[in-house]
Amino acid sequence: MNPDMTEPVSSPLVSSTFTLDGDEIPYAPGQTVIQAALAAGKYIPHLCYHPEFKPHGSCKLCTVKVNGRPASSCTTAAQDGLNVESETPDIKDKRRTLVQMLLVEGNHFCPSCEKSGNCMLQGLAYDLGVMSPHFPQIFPTRPVDASHPDTLLDFNRCILCELCVRASSEVDHKGVFALSGRGITKHLIVNSESGRLGDTDFAATDKAAEVCPVGVILKKRVGFAVPIGERKYDPVPISVQTVSHTHKKETV
């Protein structure tokens, strides 16, 4: 049993299965739908899910239909005989809309973003065929935090997945990050009196420094050292890379 559902479990003694878009997917007890799917080489889009952390269920990109009802595949336990639909036109439309909303909520200028090519949001946008923002851009004002000597925080790109929050508290035991505010004003904050990263004990070697799926937490003074075409999602679309983003290191 894997009560925390934090690790993808692959057991040779698998006997139970559910169906995903008509394919039989084996699973081990304790696995979620997304864990079993990824282990079987079937990609389900996701942003806040990370195999090393507890399921969060907040980004909703991994929404599937389980026996006809929408559910987050990262929080749904795999069960025998489930009928899971993922790659249907209807679900893909909704995922595309979610990505479009994320893109207009922040300031995502891919051309000059160091994360371009390694960014899960960008990878998903390409994969889902996002050809335009569709919604009016909100253009929020979010100043960058460059107070830390080794790490830059560019809040413009934050999608509120809380992976840095979770990594900093659960792995680093520092609690550097948190979310504040409600609804559309919700935003990432830094736990120091000044609110600045430079006044925390954050270190560039922290787990929190490497989990950001987008371009918020970046190593300073490193930009474009890896040419276009050689970044993680350049040669192969994100949907074909079924292992999640930390399984294969970014090309930095």
């Binding site: 000059s112 460059a146 490193v222 930009g223 474009f224 050292a225 040419p227």
Partner: protein, 499 residues
């Protein structure tokens, strides 16, 4: 002469003719001409009507984003901005010398850029005027018309440009808006396969570029009564030159000459450009008017670009282009050539030089090296700064940045090539208007004469209007008698009126 025909005394009584937009140039600009009842020209202005904001929105961004971000100023010669920014940030980081591989790959990228941009300009944008005549049938006066009438010329033009784009793609990762140069070096060198691919066609490109010089030379020398006088005016000119005085587009020091060819200054380190050049703002254009401080705003304006560079240098370091340069200089009979249409001739000599340089660089084994990056010691102090200057296709390009201790950009100043030519272009259109339009019934063909003069400078109006917040907008409301009723200035402090 600087302000002649710039502002009519009683504009309200005059008829206004506008060329909007000016076609076959990069970006958006317009020309307005004020004429009286007898079609006498009283005012001619080249207005730049785009408004952008790169200098402002770079502020507060991390410096390593800058070379990739600022190149978005332009889709025609982004490489120039990419490299000028990288060079400025090399200086900021205290890096004196790049590795040979980094330097040569950057140069290769830049010469690819010069080749493709010059080919684009000559064949696609200007050859229709030159081959068919300025007032030829408008429906055919375009690259499609050229392809129909002169398929061989059009084909060479398209393929020369394509080759330049391929050089850029292999060095920068993409044909447009790549990431090859980074502060301290480059992120890739040419692979053996890429080098072989480019080498395969390098000789053909040199040969076609050589043909292109012959085309423009024949056109020019066959009708000197047109080419020598069309939009011709005397001015200073400026460019960077190599330490030995040779032509170099990638690096060098500043040299300026006066209208007689006499050196005004030479081998000036461009880090001190601010002591040499000042920019004047005029209320009717978004493009500033730079001038050499030591000569003042009336006499200090200058030309940049091919015509300036080919005459400013002492020699061109490749054989075919050097032979062409000598012939060009000889045509001036000891005097600098100031003809606006001579830009085309000089530009093709530069295209030949670029093709020859590409061929040379491709034969250099350093181009495949693996030593890509250099580090330096950042300038001490709270703010570090650097200036990067490069000869872009359209002329001298200045990038100047200051970076705070936290690695964020605090100040950016760009003087782009087209801005340097602002006064020269305005003077050229006024000369043409005086000579060809005065007293005549305005026709499309006559108005195209104005555009031909602008096109010779290959202006990039998108690049030229990169600034925001530094150019106050001045508004004056004038009644029919010419009396100012109200005036106001809008700048970073908001709307203000004179006390």
């Amino acid at each position: 002469m600087t302000y002649e025909l710039e502002t009519a005394i009683h504009p309200e009584k005059l008829r206004r003719v506008a060329i909007d937009p000016v076609s076959r140039v990069e970006g958006h600009g317009k020309v307005t001409i004020l004429l009286d009842d007898k079609n006498q020209v009283h005012q001619v202005r080249l207005h730049i009507v785009e408004f952008r904001g790169f200098e402002r929105f770079i502020q507060g961004r991390p410096y390593w984003e800058v070379p990739v971000m600022v190149q978005r100023l332009c889709g025609i010669c982004p490489v120039s901005h990419h490299l000028a920014a990288s060079k400025a940030l090399d200086v900021m980081l205290g890096i004196k010398h790049l590795t040979p591989t980094a330097e040569k790959n950057r140069k290769l990228m830049h010469y690819g850029q010069m080749l493709q941009s010059h080919a684009l300009h000559f064949f696609h944008l200007s050859s229709p005027d030159l081959l068919f005549g300025f007032d030829s049938e408008v429906a055919k006066r375009n690259i499609v018309g050229v392809a129909a009438a002169h398929p061989d010329i059009a084909k060479k033009g398209v393929l020369l440009r394509k080759y330049g784009q391929e050089v850029i793609r292999h060095t920068a990762g993409k044909r447009i808006h790549g990431t090859g140069a980074i502060p301290g070096g480059v992120n890739k060198s040419l692979s053996s396969a890429e080098r072989a691919t480019l080498l395969k066609d390098a000789y053909q490109m040199v040969s076609w570029a050589h043909d292109a010089v012959q085309i423009i030379k024949q056109l020019y020398t066959a009708t000197p009564e047109l080419y020598d006088v069309f939009g011709t005016f005397r001015s200073n000119y400026m460019s960077i030159v190599a330490p030995d005085g040779g032509l170099d587009f990638y690096h060098g020091a500043l040299r300026a000459r006066d209208a007689d060819g006499k050196v005004i200054f030479d081998q000036i380190d461009y880090q001190g450009y601010n002591d040499l050049i000042e920019e004047e703002v005029r209320p009717w254009s978004y493009m500033k008017f730079p001038f050499l401080k030591q000569l003042g705003r009336e006499n200090g304006w200058y030309k940049v670009g091919p015509l300036a560079r080919v005459q400013n240098c002492d020699h061109i370091p490749t054989p075919l282009a050097e032979a062409e340069r000598k012939e060009f200089v000889a045509y001036g009979k000891g005097q600098p050539i100031h003809a606006t249409l001579a830009y085309h001739w000089a530009r093709m000599i530069e295209m030949l030089f670029s093709a020859e340089m590409i061929k040379e660089l491709l034969h250099d084994d350093d181009i495949e090296g693996s030593d890509l990056m250099t580090t330096g010691t950042r300038q001490p102090g709270v703010e570090a700064e650097g200036v990067g200057v490069i000869e872009a296709p359209r002329g001298t390009l200045f990038h100047h940045y200051r970076v705070g201790e936290d690695d964020l950009v605090t100040m950016a100043n760009l003087i782009v090539s087209t801005t340097n030519n602002n006064q020269a272009m305005n003077t050229a259109v006024r000369e043409v208007a005086k000579k060809y339009l005065n007293g005549k019934e305005i026709t499309e063909g006559l108005l195209n004469h104005i555009e031909v003069a602008i096109r010779a400078y290959d202006p990039c109006l998108s690049c030229a209007t990169h600034a925001l917040g530094q150019m106050p907008l001045e508004i004056a409301i004038v009644d029919a008698e010419g009396t100012v009723i109200d005036e106001a200035t809008r700048d970073h402090r908001g709307l203000t009126r004179p006390q």
